[in-house]
């Protein structure tokens, strides 16, 4: 009898301190990707956003290095992950989100749109979900006037 562990879709978002150098940032990303794969999970799309200004200061810092990782893992993995994150002093903030089926579709489509843009490399088209939201903005402004 083989007990197959059912994998769930998750998304991890980390904010590293801006003090990290380029190599340290990459090493830190790799650390979490390895952590997922070593504990029987599947690391999906890794998306380092890089340096980004924070909406409010965290630990007296106004910028942070964002890192988003989609992964599939068993349900017992998140407690392990949290222990690792809490030990890691370079992580200022973290969040693990469970993705439902619509979220997985959304992320795949979003990534597909980005890949196309990179392939084009000339025109900086926004990914598709944002295009639709811009249409909505116009509708919204009309409503506010009314």
């Amino acid at each position: 009898m083989t007990t197959e562990v059912k994998l769930q879709h998750y998304e991890l978002m980390l904010i590293f301190t801006p003090i990290l150098s380029e190599d340290e940032y990459k090493a830190a990303q790799q650390k979490y990707i390895d952590l997922v794969t070593n504990s029987g999970g599947i690391a999906g799309n890794a998306n380092p956003w890089g340096m980004k200004s924070l909406a409010y200061p965290i630990q007296k810092k106004t910028t942070g290095l964002y890192f988003v990782l989609e992964f599939q893992a068993g349900t017992d993995f998140n407690t392990k992950l949290e222990v690792q994150i809490n030990r890691d002093e370079t992580v200022m903030r973290h969040m693990v989100t469970k993705l439902d089926k619509y979220a997985v579709i959304y992320n795949n489509r979003h990534r597909g749109a980005k890949a196309e843009n990179k392939a084009d490399a000339t025109n900086e088209l926004e990914p598709q979900p944002i295009e639709t939201t811009n249409d909505l903005l116009e509708n919204n402004s009309n409503e506010d006037n009314g």
Binding site: M13, I15, L54, A55, Y56, I58, G64, V68, R93, M95, T97, D100, Y102, A103, I105, Y106, H110, P129, I130, T132, T133, L136, L137, N139, N140, N142, E143, D144, G146
Partner: protein, 88 residues
């Protein structure tokens, strides 16, 4: 009959012409509200960074709840501010 005429003038005539609000998520077929897309979520905030009520945004209850969760996540990850002035 005079009474009906009175009501006609007492009521705000603009109300009749106003377009009916609709849930943009239902209309556009958006099924997942992404907390990472801060620019999109800003459409549901006022200038102080407070969430707009359904009365104004027109969202259905289901999607208002999803938007609320997304905004709260974005705030935790410092993508959106908790309090501010002149957000837009």
């Amino acid at each position: 009959m005079a009474r009906q005429n009175d009501i006609k003038y007492l009521a705000n005539t603009r109300i009749q012409n106003r377009e009916k609000k609709y849930c943009r998520f239902k209309k556009m077929g958006i099924k997942y509200v992404d907390y990472k897309d801060a620019e999109f979520l800003k459409k549901f905030l006022n200038e102080q960074g407070k969430m707009l009520p359904r009365r104004i945004s027109g969202n259905s209850l289901k999607f208002q709840r999803k938007v609320a969760h997304a905004i709260k996540k974005a705030r935790q990850m410092a993508l959106l501010p908790y309090v501010t002035d002149l957000l837009k």
